[in-house]
């Protein structure tokens, strides 16, 4: 009966799992309810309000094209640009699509698609101007939009030291007006904006210099773990690029096709589409392995040291320490060291460790050195007493006795236990997610959550198994090194 009961439970668990899985899959295939796109509506031509109050723009057309077949409702939600990350993370919006340039900070805080536009900060001058290169800007008056990327690009460029004057104005139209009327000689502007105005106002008034001040990519942002949506957008971008729809939209707004696709990237994407989840898994794997190797390399000698210190007068303290480390959960220790220490009165401020990874290493090191100390104790205990007596009678010094006679014998005895502990360590590394370090298991979990796909779990199984097999293999090899 007992066995039947167990089988019943396992059966129910499998059933439950399968039903969830197929349900999620079915959801993925159906047309979804709605998608909310966050944008700043003051960025023509990417997204802005038309004279009759409609939100229009290049990005709007593009987003409509991407989502129209898969979502019943596409909502364009104007947001406060400064709190865009918060809007995304609190799931108030699904996507940010609004001439968002790719920066290292944004890569950290959001998940970015590959670029769909390459934007440059270019110089716009009057059609009849004698300015033909950046060199010619010396001693000229340049007009920029206040707080724009163009203004920053100019300030950071070496030419900024040699120009006569920089005029900062509220908006782009005023800048163009300045140049047109000859008050300023040139203006710095986003290439996409310049092309839009040129298309709109006619190319006979202005020209764009070939040289750029700086360049950047425009990307679409989704919530950090939402790989599924990111891949959806990227594949759709590829699709409308190939179908010619993208160039159609581009022609409409800029008078020419400036849509950007990384050729290699898109071909790579289509062939590797199903394996894309491996990237975050491998990113996590790097963290896991780094943690494992550092902890193993540091905690073994520390464990040996702790074992030796137990023999000294204050050895009792070490024994208490080992009891503390072995007698409490590693997870609790991690939380205490990273989140708890800063709250300690008086000393908390000085002892707090800012880096999550470092706090993780420290905790793992302390915990594992306690285990290693006990493993070494076992190893040394099982060495025959006769070895100590023979050394004593032969006048062999303590140092020589320890390093030349006892340690090699103890290491041979300890090898299987150390191997065991290393295998445990590689699995324990996943606990570090508790203090916010993204490692193999937490990344896997995130992908599964966002893609409703079981493959990442299976990949994680495989990776852990492979690492453990490698560890066991290495230790087997090491054991054969002990020829005595």
């Amino acid at each position: 009966m007992k066995i039947n009961f167990k089988f019943l439970i396992i059966f129910l668990i499998i059933l439950n799992f399968l039903s969830n899985f197929s349900f999620l899959n079915a959801c993925a295939k159906n047309k979804k309810n709605k998608i909310v796109i966050g944008l700043d509506i003051n960025v023509p031509p990417m997204g802005f309000k038309s004279e009759n109050g409609e939100i229009i723009g290049f990005d709007i057309d593009l987003a409509n094209e991407i989502f129209k077949n898969d979502y019943e409702k596409i909502i364009f939600q104007p947001i406060d640009w400064d709190s865009k990350e918060f809007e995304l993370n609190s799931k108030k919006i699904d996507v940010i699509w609004n001439g968002l340039s790719e920066t290292p900070d944004r890569k950290e805080s959001m998940l970015l698609t590959n670029p769909y536009l390459k934007n440059r900060q270019v110089i716009l001058v009057r059609k009849d101007s004698e300015i033909n290169s950046l060199e010619n800007l010396k001693n000229k008056i340049i007009c920029v939009q206040k707080g724009s990327t163009g203004a920053d690009a100019l300030a950071e460029h070496e030419i900024s030291g040699e120009i006569k004057q920089t005029v900062e104005l509220e908006n782009m139209i005023s800048c163009l007006n300045e140049v047109e009327t000859g008050k300023s000689d040139a203006t710095v502007v986003d290439e996409v904006v310049a092309k839009y105005y040129l298309n709109k106002l006619g190319e006979n008034k202005f020209k764009i210099l070939n040289q750029e001040l700086s360049s950047e990519f425009y990307v679409v942002a989704v919530k950090k773990e939402n790989y599924k949506l990111k891949e959806f957008i990227e594949s759709k971008l590829d699709e409308i690029y190939k179908s010619g729809k993208a160039s159609e939209i581009s022609e409409k707004w800029f008078g020419q096709d400036i849509f950007y696709r990384q050729n290699e990237n898109s071909s790579k994407n289509s062939s590797k589409k199903n394996l894309n989840f491996l990237t975050p898994i491998f990113d996590g794997l790097k963290q896991t392995l780094l943690l494992f190797i550092i902890v193993l390399v540091l905690s073994m000698p520390l464990g040996l040291l702790l074992f030796c210190l137990q023999k000294l007068k204050f050895g009792i303290i070490i024994k208490y320490f080992i009891n503390l480390m072995r007698g409490t959960p590693l997870l609790l220790q991690l939380l205490f060291i990273f989140y708890g220490i800063p709250y300690l009165p008086f000393v908390g401020e000085f002892l707090a460790i800012k880096s999550r990874f470092l706090a993780g290493i420290l905790t793992f090191m302390l915990n594992y050195s306690a285990y290693f100390a006990e493993i070494f104790r076992g190893g040394f205990l099982s060495i025959d007493k006769g070895q100590y007596e023979a050394s004593k009678l032969l006048g062999i010094g303590k140092f020589k006795l320890f390093f030349k006679i006892l340690l090699p014998q103890a290491m041979k005895i300890c090898m299987p236990s150390i191997c065991n502990e290393s295998v445990t360590l590689i699995k324990d590394t996943s606990l570090i997610f508790a203090i916010g370090v993204q490692e193999l298991l937490s990344n896997t979990k995130n992908i599964v959550n966002s893609t409703a796909n079981i493959m990442p779990y299976i990949a994680a199984f495989g990776i852990y198994l492979i690492i453990c097999s490698i560890i066991v293999f290495i230790f087997k090899k090491l054991e054969t090194k002990f020829k005595f």
């Binding site: 070895q387 007596e389 023979a390 009678l393 032969l394 006048g395 020589k400 090699p408 014998q409 041979k412």
Partner: protein, 200 residues
């Protein structure tokens, strides 16, 4: 002149008296056998002589000097001890077993030649036969050139042929003016080889 002399020594483990008021003498340059059945404290007596155990009562003299805690380390240098289970260092080769005692290749090589261990220098103890292991243990004890050599049950693991060979070795040691003390329960070997027999 006695190499080793005990005057009324007593050894207890807790309340268990191993021997009481024991007077043992070993003359210089002679072979003295300690004979007796198991459990009478033969090995314990040897361990007391070598300073591995403290006695509860009485006096031990080594080369005429009374053994105490101050001179213990110095006096023990006169004694070479070959354990019953030999206690070779298993992680060291034959040559390393000798050289860890005294870093002298010349001396080690001489002893290896003398004890017919040529070709075995780089072998670990586990790859040696019982007789070879014993010869390594004796060679190791001789690295410090002790005046007195103590053997604990040296013949127990040896066949007749090897016992003969061992006898030759100790005769050789006597010829080098060393004193030999042997604990054994092999009455024949004791009678045939020893100058004196001490029954315990």
């Amino acid at each position: 002149m006695y190499a080793i002399e005990t005057i009324g020594i007593t050894k207890k483990f807790g309340n268990n008296i191993i021997f009481e008021n024991l007077n043992f003498k070993a003359k210089e340059r002679e072979i003295t056998s300690i004979l007796g059945p198991s459990g009478r404290g033969k090995t314990t007596l040897l361990r007391c002589l070598a300073g591995l155990e403290n006695i509860n009562n009485g006096t031990i003299k080594i080369c005429g000097e009374i053994l105490n805690n101050k001179n213990k380390d110095n006096l023990i240098k006169n004694i070479g001890f070959v354990f019953q289970n030999l206690n070779l260092f298993p992680n060291l080769t034959v040559l390393q077993n000798l050289k860890i005692v005294l870093n002298s290749s010349k001396k080690a090589q001489n002893l290896i030649n003398k004890f017919k261990l040529n070709g075995k220098e780089n072998e670990f103890p586990k790859n040696l036969s019982g007789g070879q292991k014993q010869r390594v243990a004796i060679a190791r004890a001789l690295m410090l050139e002790p005046k007195i050599l103590i053997f604990d049950e040296p013949t127990s693991a040896l066949d007749q042929e090897l016992i003969q060979e061992f006898f030759k070795i100790i005769c050789d040691l006597i010829n080098q003016n060393r004193t030999i003390i042997i604990v054994t329960h092999d009455t024949n070997f004791a009678k045939n080889s020893s100058d004196n027999i001490f029954k315990i």
